[in-house]
Symmetry: D2
Subunit: 250 residues, 4 copies
Amino acid sequence: MAEPIRVTVWNEFRHEREKDAVRKVYPQGIHVAVAEALHEAGCETRTATLDEPEHGLPESVLDHTDVLTWWGHKAHHEVSDEVVERVHRRVLDGMGLVVLHSGHNSKVFRALMGTTCSLRWREAGERERVWVVERTHPIAEGVDPYFELAHEEMYGERFDIPAPDALVFLGWFQGGDVFRSGCCFFRGQGRVFYFQPGHETYPTYHDPVVRRILANAVRWAHTGVRIEQHGCPKCDPLEPLPEVEGERVG
Amino acid sequence: MAEPIRVTVWNEFRHEREKDAVRKVYPQGIHVAVAEALHEAGCETRTATLDEPEHGLPESVLDHTDVLTWWGHKAHHEVSDEVVERVHRRVLDGMGLVVLHSGHNSKVFRALMGTTCSLRWREAGERERVWVVERTHPIAEGVDPYFELAHEEMYGERFDIPAPDALVFLGWFQGGDVFRSGCCFFRGQGRVFYFQPGHETYPTYHDPVVRRILANAVRWAHTGVRIEQHGCPKCDPLEPLPEVEGERVG
Amino acid sequence: MAEPIRVTVWNEFRHEREKDAVRKVYPQGIHVAVAEALHEAGCETRTATLDEPEHGLPESVLDHTDVLTWWGHKAHHEVSDEVVERVHRRVLDGMGLVVLHSGHNSKVFRALMGTTCSLRWREAGERERVWVVERTHPIAEGVDPYFELAHEEMYGERFDIPAPDALVFLGWFQGGDVFRSGCCFFRGQGRVFYFQPGHETYPTYHDPVVRRILANAVRWAHTGVRIEQHGCPKCDPLEPLPEVEGERVG
Amino acid sequence: MAEPIRVTVWNEFRHEREKDAVRKVYPQGIHVAVAEALHEAGCETRTATLDEPEHGLPESVLDHTDVLTWWGHKAHHEVSDEVVERVHRRVLDGMGLVVLHSGHNSKVFRALMGTTCSLRWREAGERERVWVVERTHPIAEGVDPYFELAHEEMYGERFDIPAPDALVFLGWFQGGDVFRSGCCFFRGQGRVFYFQPGHETYPTYHDPVVRRILANAVRWAHTGVRIEQHGCPKCDPLEPLPEVEGERVG
């Protein structure tokens, strides 16, 4: 039997402690809801939050993390550049990363994308309908041609990301907007999935379809590989070369 | 008649001042050779170098720059983060960027790509043959199915970049390596082209085919648009929404 | 001054002759409305329709066609395989092709895509809002972040196409669906643009934004190149090879 | 334990019966060598060849085929259009397809690509070195940064395919050419992998690295899904629509 995938579920964990309306939906925090969904799917999970030392993400934790999930919103700027760089590097070395909802604006997602990752938004409790664009993509496994969320925050185009390597979901919003709601990116040796649903005041992470997608995303993002890249190696020719004519500058 | 494209040609300009072998090939600096090629092609050019104040790239210069070309090598780390961020932002707003040769390792290219941009290399004066993969891409206009460079530095795969939005050239090296030598990327509202040839000890930028490609690349990278993106705008619904049921948390 | 782009506007031209409701919107046929839009944009236009000999597309017409636009719906199967193959080959040699609305199901588009090009649909006079995904793509030039069509036929995902080389527009439909409404494809030496709006009972091709997009699409699709590919050429080595050890089977 | 993947290994099987030099390398045919490699990797394999009834590919065989591999060369035109269409449709419904070497010119690969799939070639027993571009792609699992084949037929760019959805391998040839040697395509619900090595006079399919790649490719191409698409379904609105104003033409 395959080893379980080791997932670290990261959460900013501020809204839940500060606002009743959020606590009511996620009494123990969004991270606990996400971790439960992944645990049920057979993953080995742990959680980490902003206010822990090193935001709960010391090297020793990342050493045992196959896939990291990321939810943050109001305190992106409080995440230390050192930890951002650490996570970024790990992804490039082969760790999976699943970026959730307002994590679009996190330092680490923006560093991986190289763009602003800006979007248009509106909080109006409107209905979202998420359409599957690639039905046989592993992240859409077991998902119907579309699913609905009774209430979500609207995220609308233009979403300032590089063209994704695969576009898995498109979101339709009642108020008249569309969004690339599920996007895969290959970066370095790692895999990144961005998934739009998950506003803190709605029970999105309790939804069974969303939970299935979270588990699928983690499985997809898990490469099982770690290849460290240290600078640019100089290398010898593999084929014989003619003598060089004294123009080398060393 | 169309306005000429305004190009700023940036160069680190250190090798040329420090090494005879380089000065012999580019007596006035690589930037002057590149600027000449672009001037001949009808561009309005200016140059900027590392050791000028703000590396020659104050806001006022970028205000009048449609496309920036970038050659750097040994002093990437001396480019200030402030200027890197400025150039990065300008690209996302619509400025074109043509990254040359060892510029693969520049801060700004790495920030735009989100990856290490590492590669394998060897300086052995070997022959490179550059193949055109997309014959009708504007950057390949007027280029034969392949062209040769008698001597180039070898850059070999794996080149740690995101999959390019278009792969225009592939490089074959005598010593046994291959490389994605011409890659297009769309980032934000801007366009980025990476072109591998151009080692400082070889007369690559005097080669007429290379000069044609430089001019093509600048034309391609020129969007003529500048769209500033300031954060994520909140926006009203475009369609009528039902009353929200008191669950807003503001 | 540049030569005008020579566009042949192809139309099935059946609905307009058979149904009053269509004739009222396009009295001379959809092709005439499309051709007018392109003529106003400076193109040199001619039209061709299904019931002309060779569907109006003999080799001599294609010899003088830089870009072909295609509108068909109920009689796709009446287009002869010979003409389909002729158009297909021309596109691969460098001719541009702009496929409109129900042309998604045309033989030539399906041959170019290699997929079924199927989609979901509904004719309910609903509102469509078309969002621009790539604001600096040439086909979106001069288009606002979105535009509206008061009534369009709904085309919904999943649209069975290969992932487009560029996704320019996304469509939002009032009835709850989304669609990849503007898609670019590079095929052979040619360029193909698919544009979803344009149901025969609505005045879509009289809309100024749509007309602008048609003109932009023609300009984008025009490569100015024709490279005929006849089979797979055998070719000599470009580098010296060692003697082969008698294992050739020729 | 997971069900074994059911692979049908298709081979033209003419060269092996007609030429001693080929029979010496593949005494029982290329298909038997390929099937052995896949059987060793745990697949359930069967073979099919051109001269069997329906080329060995009746519906009943495809009903029990998860992934089909395809080697053909001199008799592509003898494959009946009916069988080509059958295989094409199966791929779009979710069957995997691994196209080998000269299969680039097969009717089914060309139908899936929509392009000529032409390339340049030379049979000179030269060395090929295959480079891995995407190290963590499942098809490259267990493969070193490059591997060598002492003798291969040269296949060179430009390879007239649509830009692949993932570029896994690049080939370097001793005679001076490069090639996109391992290319992934998503088409419909199916997955297609093209792999360039495998000339009939060389023992390529006995090479352990190549055999590993064949097995990896089959695993990657296996979607486990079959979604039949029959035409374009008409569908009801998912959201309430305003009354339509009598302009329907039904």
